[in-house]
Structure formats: C-alpha cells, structure tokens
Amino acid sequence: MHSSEYQRDTVEPILSREQFVSISDTLAALAGKLRIEAMLLVNSSGRIIASNIKTGWRGDMTLLATLAASSFSAANEMGRVLGEREHFKMILHEGANRNIFVSTVNSHYFLIVVFEKGVALGMVRLLTKKTIQELVPILKLKTGEKYPENIFDGRFTSQLDDELDRSLTEFS
C-alpha cells in the first residue's frame, strides 16, 4: 500500500495471525538473548502490535507505548525543524536504573526496548538492529486476510450503542 493511501485510510493495514505469530516469535528470540524488561512493537500512533514482557514486570504498557510514540514523533519533528530529511533511527532515554531504547522499524512501526542499567547498550543496539531486519519483511508480507465483513454490522453497532449507554455515564 502506498504511504499516502495508508494515511488516508481509517483502518490501518491488516496484519494476519501468521504475521502476529512471526512477530511474537522474533521478539521472543531477542528476549532470549538479552536481559530485557519489556519490548513492544508499536505503530506510529502508539498502539501496541506485539509485546514481550519479563515475568513480574509491572509497568503500564499502554502508557509506555503512548508516551514513546509521542516522544519519537517529537524527535522527528525536531529533526525536521533542523532540516533532517529522514526520520531519526533511534532515541535513548537513560534512567538511574533502566534505559529505554526506541528504534524505527519502518515508517509505520517502531520498537521499544526497556532494559536494566547493567545491560550493555552496544549489545542492545546490535541485537535490536538484527531483530528489526527480521521484522521488516514480516511486516511487509501480503496477508491475504480480509476484514470480516460483518464486524460493524447492525447487530454489532446496536450492541455497541447499548454498551456505550451503559458504560459512558456517571458511575454510582
């Protein structure tokens, strides 16, 4: 799909179950090589596509993905202000106990890796780069999967209306 066409679509390109499985396997392989706390494949608007989380990790993935997406977009806008022609490939946030490494996968997706301070940054960069090289062709695959025709049929929208009336209201 051409990128301008992508932007005009309300619904993002569909990823098949096979793609999700391949993506999850690829993230798991990286998690097996590095002491990672969390790893998220996120789209450019901050929605989580796939994740691999260390057992017991208690961070909020949704908030992390949202903030990282915004931070990455802000970095790219800074680059544009400075005259950079291409998006930044990576950004690093260094903390007292852990770091966050965010790298571009392609124009629609990026990878967030949260790791402890003791893990060598060079190793994270090297292995993340290799993982991204594996993710790119997976994300490019033509899926052949079609939208379920009735996902927003009359029954669904009627039930959604009921659910919205029930949920989006004053809680007592």
Partner: protein
C-alpha cells in the same frame, strides 16, 4: 482505527481539540473522575509548572466485549496555545475522531475559529478534511455569563452540520453525550470505509 485481530481488540484514537483554556483537559478530568473505575486506565498529563497542557493528556477507556471484541478508546487532548501547533500535529497522528471543544464566551469566538482553521490545516496535510472526517462540536462553558447563543455558535463554527452539544465540563453537562456521539460517528465512518475497501478487493 486499529484492529488487533489476534487479541480481538478495536482501538479508537479520539482527540479533544480546541483553543487554550476552552476546557479540553477539564473534559478528561470529568470523565476520569466519574466513570466506572473498572473501565479506565491511568490519566497522564504532560503539563507545564503552571498547569497548562504542554503536549497532551491521555486516558484509555474500555467497555465490555461485543461479540468477543473489546473496544478500547484512547482519549487525548492537545495543547491549545497558539505556539504549540506542532505538538497538536503530532497528537493528531492516527486520529479517528475529534471533539472540538469551543469556548462559549463572547471574547473567545475568534480563538475558536482560528483553532478550527488550525485543525483543518493539519487534517488537510494528512489527506483528510473537516467535511468528511468524524467530529462533533462541544460548546463548553455554558454555565458562565457573557456567552454566545447556540444559534450563533452554530452559524460561526458548525460549517458542516456536525452534532453539537451545549456543555459545561466542570459540571459534566454534555461531556459523556459528546463522547458517545463521536464514537458512533467514527463507527459509521469506518463501516463505510470497510465497505468501500471490500468492494475494491472484490
């Protein structure tokens, strides 16, 4: 809209847009304070020391599963101040629907219009237009004196006859109704788009 078929989740990104101090964050605060706690995530606010939004506020809501699919609504605000246009552009990335929070006070009408034009500029840059994009108008601060009539606000701001809601984000008037209507509008629009895509594939 993002649909995670693996997890059977439907994600919508909904943005509160409007001039500075029109009540965008107040909408979010009201929802956060009054909705069933089981349906909400944490509310995060990226703001200045003076309590003004510098980037965005964010809140995720979810409602019960429908036919096994879980709708999740990601609510954002934008910073309203004029010089944060680039921040607004970033927040609009991937937006599915907009609640335009207009300030009903007479002296704010120019700011409302300027911000609406700013919104249209960003939408056009992303290949969208106000005419065919799901959005609703919320006429906020109806509890204050010195306000413009609803008819006049419609005449000046409601260029495409979108649903509009008299509101007071402080008291909660028009907060949930505007959000519900926006979600319905997004679903209608997405349904139309899916039909077109299916016809193209057929």
């Amino acid at each position: 809209m993002f649909i995670n078929w693996m997890l059977q989740e439907i994600h919508l990104k909904l943005v509160y847009y409007g001039p500075g101090l029109s009540g965008k964050t107040e909408n979010m605060n009201y929802i956060y304070s009054h909705i069933d706690p089981a349906l909400k995530g944490d509310l995060i606010s990226l703001k200045t020391k003076e309590d003004r939004t510098i980037f965005f506020d964010f809140l995720q809501l979810e409602v019960g599963a429908i036919d096994g699919k879980k709708p999740k609504f990601n609510l954002y605000t934008v910073p309203g101040q004029v010089n944060y246009s680039l921040s607004r552009k970033i927040v609009l990335n991937g937006v599915d629907g907009i609640i335009f929070v207009a300030d009903s006070q007479k002296e704010m009408m120019n700011a409302n219009l300027d911000t609406l034009l700013d919104l249209e500029k960003h939408l056009i840059a992303d290949g969208k237009t106000l005419e065919d994009f799901p959005w609703v108008l919320q006429y906020n601060k109806r509890d204050l004196p010195n306000i413009v009539s609803i008819d006049e606000m419609n005449e000046k701001l409601n260029l495409f006859g979108v649903p509009h809601f008299p509101a007071s984000a402080v008291t909660g008037q028009g907060v949930f109704p505007a959000l519900k209507e926006l979600i319905k509008q997004v679903v209608i629009k997405t349904k139309q788009q899916m039909t077109v895509q299916q016809e193209k594939r057929a």
